[in-house]
């Protein structure tokens, strides 16, 4: 078996049994990164760093002292601050920014022995669902429609992370999910994408987009690898007062394979108008898989589902307009000179931000401005409370909820580009969960008629990632998704 095809769990076994070294494993991935440069999955490649990390890992392994991710080469979404390594958020405005500190989540991964292959491309400031808004150019998915060679988007905003793992460049990748930015690209590229409960992982050192929604998570090729990553990433951080003080379970131990008696909700509001029949069919198949494994489907109502997107598109831009106020050309990144300080601010921000980021800052500024704050922002926060209450009620009768991850498969570069609202609809099934702060995972469940991956989403109670992962592993086993992106074969 090729080293780049291994899962983290398999590589852990292989490294432990000395079948190959961390250096060999990392070299194979560095080579894959070079070969697949056409995908534009990385903004910054750090092969030298990866090889140094691997050499350290080999020393630990030889000493019988391997940690949970010893010698595992990862891609890191370029939204995580990495000490001394260019961190851009895929924005012109962060030109040349080398953080003098390390994000908590990446520091935790390095403390478990992982190595860094590079900083993965994304939508600018994580705002997008197709990875076309990056200042560093669009990411291309390694997938193609059957008989159609047009390049497809990998989804977004963690599109570079998804492309890197799908193309077997990285064994896993860090992403962030504000409204679906891990789960939707996972669905588009045939990966497992986990958004943990809000507060499970520290946000310290992640370039902020919408602070009440942002959460770190992983993209992996299996549910087991997702469990391994989550355990390494999680835990309270005094530097993020919203991070939970709860103990971190051994998520791998939760993968018992037994979901007998589990009750899973099926919300009828997720049957949205215009959803392709094949996604509805896949959802039904997923219901049958869980039923066959001994779980019990329960019809539930999530009545406010259709209001989640408009709620999100008030709250997220409002928080973004506030968070992105720090990019003023003074302390870091781009500066465009002006005669006065105001001119300098306005010129810097006009040149430094792309169109979608500007649009969201302007919307956010509008909904927070005098006279509109109550009508838009407070209204959205009230609706958000009702959406969270909807889920809470549902979880009184079910243990998890099963839905499709996205209302469509990946689309071609250039499609759906003219209308921002059409693009926002990509996140119709992921945004409600983000608003409620709940954990959710996308599992590759099948292929569309055009040969593209489609995911199913498992949603859980707050801080019950264990049940989410257990149900996801059951789906994974039933789906037996073995398709590979055509560019690899």
């Amino acid at each position: 078996m090729e080293l780049c095809d291994l899962t983290i769990a398999q590589a852990r076994d292989g490294l432990g049994a000395r079948r190959f070294s961390a250096r060999e494993l990392t070299e194979a991935h560095v080579k894959a990164m070079e070969v697949a440069r056409g995908l534009n999955a990385f903004i910054t490649e750090t092969p030298e760093r990866a090889l140094i990390d691997a050499a350290r890992a080999d020393v630990r392994i030889a000493a019988g002292d391997a940690r949970a991710l010893e010698g595992i080469p990862l891609a890191i979404k370029d939204l995580f601050c990495t000490e001394g390594v260019l961190t851009t958020a895929a924005s012109h405005i962060l030109d040349g920014f080398k953080p003098p500190y390390e994000s908590t989540v990446t520091a935790k991964l390095w403390a478990q022995g992982a190595g860094m292959l590079g900083k993965a491309n994304l939508d600018e400031f994580a705002m997008g669902s197709s990875n076309i808004t990056s200042y560093y150019g669009a990411v291309r998915s390694p997938w193609r429609r059957r008989g159609d060679d047009r390049p497809l988007v990998p989804g977004g905003s963690s599109g570079g992370s998804a492309a890197a793992v799908a193309a077997r460049i990285a064994m896993a990748a860090l992403g962030t999910d504000t409204g679906g930015s891990i789960r939707q690209p996972a669905s588009f590229t045939g990966l497992v994408g986990m958004k943990p409960t809000y507060g499970r992982c520290s946000r310290w050192g992640i370039v902020a987009f919408a602070s009440s929604l942002d959460q770190a998570g992983s993209l992996t090729r299996t549910v087991r690898d997702s469990a391994i990553m989550l355990r390494a990433m999680s835990g309270h951080d005094p530097k993020d007062s919203t991070s939970a003080t709860l103990p971190v379970p051994d998520y791998e131990a939760a993968l018992t394979g037994n979901i007998r008696g589990l009750r899973f909700g099926v919300p009828k509001e997720y049957r949205v108008e215009g959803m392709p029949a094949e996604i509805e069919k896949l959802w039904q198949t997923g219901i049958e898989w869980l039923r066959a494994a001994g779980a019990e489907p329960v019809d539930i109502n999530l009545k406010l589902t259709k209001y989640a997107l408009p709620t999100y598109y008030i709250i997220a831009p409002a928080e973004a307009s506030s968070n992105l106020a720090r990019y003023d050309g003074v302390r870091f990144g781009l500066r465009v000179e002006g005669k006065s300080i105001e001119e300098m601010y306005e010129a810097t921000r006009a040149e430094g931000f792309g169109d979608e980021v500007k649009r969201r800052i302007l919307i956010g500024t509008y909904v927070l401005s005098a006279g509109y704050y109550d009508a838009y922002y407070l209204k959205a926060q009230r609706v958000r409370a009702l959406i969270a209450a909807d889920f809470k009620r549902a979880f009184e009768t079910v243990d998890v909820i099963l839905t499709p991850t996205a209302p469509n498969a990946a689309f071609a570069v250039g499609e759906k580009m003219d209308d921002p609202l059409a693009m926002y609809l990509n996140d119709v099934f992921t945004v409600p969960i983000s608003l409620a702060g709940l954990p959710a995972i996308s599992v590759p469940a099948g292929l569309s008629s055009e040969g593209l991956p489609l995911g199913l989403q498992v949603i859980g109670r707050a801080f019950d990632e264990e049940t989410v992962l257990r149900a996801a592993e059951s789906l994974e086993r039933a789906a037996n998704f073995t398709a590979r992106p055509p560019v690899l074969s």
Binding site: S212, P310, V330, R331, L334, A350, R359, Y366, A385, L435
Partner: protein, 95 residues
Amino acid sequence: MSIDKATVAHIAALARIRVPEADRERLAGELRKIVAWIEQLDEIDTTGVEPMASVVEMTTPQRPDAVNDGDCRDKVLANAPAASHGFFTVPKVVE
């Protein structure tokens, strides 16, 4: 009130983003569409509902009021587009 060119100019000034006159009409149109779409929230009765500011039911942890970081001026200034004598520098603000 509908969003027009003047509204765009006003919020762009609040957001400190220069938006050239030529782009204001187009942006006003885009923002009008988005705002019209988010106004569907008016269909929901939220009387008596507390606005949600935090999704996690937890009390913010306390820590001692003690300095635990800092003393790294040069590291902080290393990323500045312009700095001198240990300070950030900006265009003149006082005549």
